[in-house]
Symmetry: C2
Subunit: 158 residues, 2 copies
């Protein structure tokens, strides 16, 4: 059974807190966000294939990746404002198909008992309307399916 995904969005605000626990130590959870070869295996919904085209994981660095499925190709890019091992990633995020519309995530990593861990992503959008649009476009499904792939990857002992 999969761990639940919780998205708390206070109505009328432009941000949401996404909480998800994992049956793996915080070091493994962080590594799956820091290592491009691991990241590419779980990010995004469903059966898309991800190619990381730029990866510079450090405070002041940045990233870009492209996802492809039967319908087409989707590119995403951003900068890393802060990376702090096993603790925190603060980054921007842009879907290149919606240029100049940029969101920001502060992703906190917490160690739990029994070798488990928790991720809390405070996701900030430019306006209330943009967040509503992202929710309508299936943000929750994309995150849920991605984290389920991540569960399987972590269970395989990455």
């Amino acid at each position: 059974m999969s761990n639940p995904l919780t998205i708390d969005a206070v109505p009328g605000t432009s941000y949401a807190d996404i909480t998800r626990e994992f049956d793996a130590p915080v070091e493994a959870l962080f590594r799956a966000h820091a290592d491009p070869a691991l990241f590419a295996q779980w990010i995004g919904p469903g059966e898309e294939r991800t190619e990381v085209t730029h990866w510079d994981f450090r405070s002041g660095g940045g990233y870009r990746f492209v996802q492809r499925d039967a319908r087409g190709e989707y590119a995403f890019r951003g900068v890393f404002h802060t990376t702090r091992e096993n603790e925190l990633i603060i980054q921007t995020f842009e879907y290149e198909g919606w240029p100049d519309e940029v969101s920001m995530d502060a992703i906190r990593f917490e160690a739990l008992l029994d070798g488990r861990s928790r991720l809390v992503d405070h996701s900030v959008f430019s306006t209330i309307e943009v967040l509503e649009n992202m929710v309508a476009e299936g943000m929750e499904r994309g995150m849920r399916e991605g984290y389920e792939k991540l569960d399987r990857m972590l269970a395989a002992g990455v």
Copy 2:
């Protein structure tokens, strides 16, 4: 007489739109944001002296600067998500004295008639409370005094 500074914050949201016109062409206004030697001359309130300690003005780059006055020293840093000449800067912003509290600005530059220009900064904070705190701490005064210095700099023909 100075051009007015307008800060539109919709109550209950975590973002504000800051609008300011300048009696100078958009190219000069943009250059004052892109060139660290110029930027250091106007950013921030009052009589602080600014030292730019890191400057990499490009999409995917970053910056850091330190301001000093009689009371002490204040450092700020961020990453440039997008820079597009005479049009747009999207960047993060952190005051190092309030670590991990990061805001994001999308600053649009518009050419007006008669060699004038307009800046519209959509400034996004992590929560409503953070924006309220920034307003209480004198955000408006800091911006107003900075832009008045910028007025004088542009009038001097930079």
